[in-house]
Amino acid sequence: MNVFMDKLALLWPEVAMMLGAVACLLAGLSSRQSLRKATPAVAMLALVVAAVLVRLVPNAQGAYDPGVDPSHFLGLGGMVPFVKMSVLALGLILVMVASGTPEALRQVIAAEAKEGKAFEPGDCFRGEFYAFMLFSLTGVMLCAGASDLVWLFLALELTSLPTYVMAATSRDKPAAQESAVKYFFLGAMSAAVFLYGFALIYTATGLTEFGPIVAYVEQNGVSPMMLTGVVLAVVGICFKIAAVPMHFYTADVYEGAATPVTAFLAFVPKTAGFVSLIGILGLVGWGESHGGTASELPEPLVYLLALIAVLTMTVGNVLGLMQQRIKRVLAYSSIAHSGYMLVGLLVGPEAVHAATGSNTLLSNGLAAVLFYLVAYGLSTVSSFAVVACMSRADGSEVETYDDLAGMRQRHPFLSGVLLVSVISLVGLPPLVGFLGKLYLIGSAYAAASAGSATAWVYPAVVVAMVLNSAISAGYYLRIAAVAFFGTDSGQTVELDLPTRRWGAAIAAGAALLLGGLPGNLLVESSRKAAEPPLPNAVPGATLDRQNADDTPPRETAEAGPASAPH
C-alpha cells in the first residue's frame, strides 16, 4: 500500500505529461484558430513543466527499504531521473522538429481553411499528432520507472501504440500508410512475443515485481522456463530497438513516415527498448551490484546478446552502405547503433567486472549505454531534422544523395549542422559520438580483462565494433562529401519552418558541446544513473559495499521472498 503511494508520488512528471497531452487534444479541437495554432507550444510547455517536476520530485533512491524490496535497476534506481530528463530534453527538440508536420497535410489545410463556426473538428487531427508525441514520451518515462512486469508491458505499449498512428497520419503519400501498416503488424507480433516472455517469467516465479523476482532468482537459480522467458522478452524487445531478428521493418517504415516522425521513431521507441532490456536482463544477472552472488548474465544470454549485437551492427552497416536514399541510409545506421549499444548491455554494470576497482565510465557498460543513448539521440535527430528542413522544388521530400549535392552553397547553415551530426554518428572526436563509442569499447575491454568463463566474447565483440565503425564511415562521410563537394543540384529549397531549423541546430550544438568539457556533466550523471540503488541512500554506502561484499546484500536476498507481497 505504502509502496504504491510512494510510487505514485514519483509520478508527477508523467501526470503533467498526460495532462499536457489532453490539453493538446482539446486545443486542437478548439473553434478558435489561434488556440489551434498554439498546440505545439502547449506540448512544449508540458515538456518543460514535466522536466521541472523531475527535478522537484525527490529522487527515488532514498524512498525504499532494501530489506523489503531488493534493489533493481529500474523503478527504484538512479536511472529513473536520468532517463526522464534525457527523454524530456530530446522530446523538446523532437517537438520543435515535428512542428509543422500535421499542418502540411492536405486534409488539415482544408479543415483549417474554414473559419469560426464552420470549422469541423472531425476533419482536423493536428492536436492528436502532438498529443500522441507526448503520450509516447510518457511511455518511455514510465518504462524507466517500471518495477513490475505488468507496468513495463503497459509502458512499452504506451510508447509504441501512438507511434503507429503518427507514422500513418504524418504524410499524404500512400507510402506513409503502407509503412504504418507494416510497422503496426510487426509491432503487434513482437508485443505478443515479449509478452509471452513475461508470462513465462511469471509462471516460473509466481511474481511480477522486479525486486522479489531478483531475490527469487538469487535463491533458486535461473530455471529453464525463466531463461526461455527472458530470451523471448529480449527477442520481442529487439523490435523496439530495431535489432537483428526484428529489424526488417526499419528501413521501410523510416522511409515511409514523414522525416520528423522518423526522427521520433529513431530515438523514442529505441530508448524505451533499451531501458526495458536493462530491466529484464537485471532480473537474471549482474547480481553482485544489487546484492547477489551471481555476477554475470547466464551464459546462454551472453552468447545470444553477443550474437545479436554483432549481427545487428554488421547488417546495419553493410546494408547501409548499399543504399541510395538518405532516409534508408540513416535507418540502417540506426540499426547499427543499436548493435553498438547492445555491447554495453552485454557488459553490464561495473560491479560485475570490478577487477580494476575504479568506478569510471570506462568499465561500466550500463553507464556507457545510457550515455550513448543521449549521444546517438542528439546526432541522429539532428541529421534527420536537416533532411526534414529541406524539400525539392515540387514540394516532395529530399530523398537521394543527388538531392543533397552541393548543399553547402545553397544552405550553408544546414550543411554545417549536417556535418556535425554525421561526424558525431561516425564517432570521430571531438564530438559526443566519439565519447560514446569510446566508453562502450572501454567497458567491453574492461570486461574482457575480468577473466570470467565467457570473457573471450568481449574481444571478439570489440573487434566487430571497430570494423563496423570503419564500414559506417563509408556512408556517413559520403553524405558529408556529397553535401560539401558535390555539384549543386539546384533543386532543393529550405522550408519556412524556423522551429525545425532551430531544433536541428540545438541538437547538433549539444552534440558538439557535450563532446567537449561540458560533456563531463553527462558523463557524471550517466555514471550515477547506472549505479544500483543505494541501501537507504546513506552517503558512502557505495564504498562500503565495494569493500565488504557480503554484509547487506545477503540479508536482502533472504528477506526478499518471505516478505514478497502478493
Binding site: V22, L25, L26, L29, E120, P121, G122
Partner: protein, 145 residues
C-alpha cells in the same frame, strides 16, 4: 441458479468415478449449450403468439435487407462506433473486479477507510473515460447527418 445446478451435476458425475470423468465438465457444457438453443426455439414456437406478414417474416424487423451479398461495404461510422463500444467494454472489464472486491475493503478491519480511497481511484478512472467520451463527441462520432 444455473451455476449451482451445473455444480451439482458436475459433482455427481465426478463422484460416480467412471473413467471419462476428466471430460465430464466439457460434456455438461456441451449439453447445456445445445439444450439452451433447442429449448429456446421449441418453447418460443409453442408458447409465443404467432403473427404472419411480409415484414414479420424477414430476418431483421428493423428493415435491414438480409438478402444479397454480405460483402457489402458498411458505412465507416459503424467502425468508429464499434471502437467507441470497445472503449466502454474495456472499462467494464476493470469495473468488475473492483466491484467484486469493494465490499471487503471497508469495515472495522482496515484503518482509515480503504473503501473511500478505492472509490476515489475508480472515480478517477471513470473520469478518464469521460474525457475520452467528450473527445469523441466533439470529434462528431455520435452525429448522424
Amino acid at each position: 441458479m444455473v451455476n449451482v445446478m451445473m455444480k451439482g451435476v458436475i459433482m455427481t458425475l465426478a463422484e460416480s468415478g467412471s473413467s471419462f470423468n476428466h471430460y465430464a465438465a466439457l460434456g455438461v457444457l456441451l449439453l447445456m449449450a445445445v439444450g439452451f438453443g433447442v429449448a429456446n426455439v421449441t418453447l418460443t414456437t409453442f408458447l409465443g403468439p404467432s403473427r404472419k406478414g411480409e415484414v414479420k417474416g424477414t430476418v431483421y424487423e428493423s428493415g435491414m435487407n438480409p438478402i444479397g451479398s454480405a460483402r457489402r461495404r458498411f458505412n465507416v461510422r459503424f467502425f468508429i462506433l464499434a471502437m467507441t463500444f470497445l472503449l466502454f467494454d474495456v472499462e467494464i472489464v476493470f469495473l468488475y473486479p473492483w466491484a467484486v472486491t469493494f465490499p471487503s475493503l471497508g469495515g472495522e478491519a482496515v484503518d482509515g477507510g480503504l473503501d473511500l480511497l478505492f472509490l476515489g481511484r475508480m472515480l478517477f478512472f471513470v473520469l478518464t473515460t469521460i474525457v475520452a467520451f467528450v473527445y469523441a463527441w466533439r470529434k462528431g462520432v455520435f452525429r448522424y447527418d
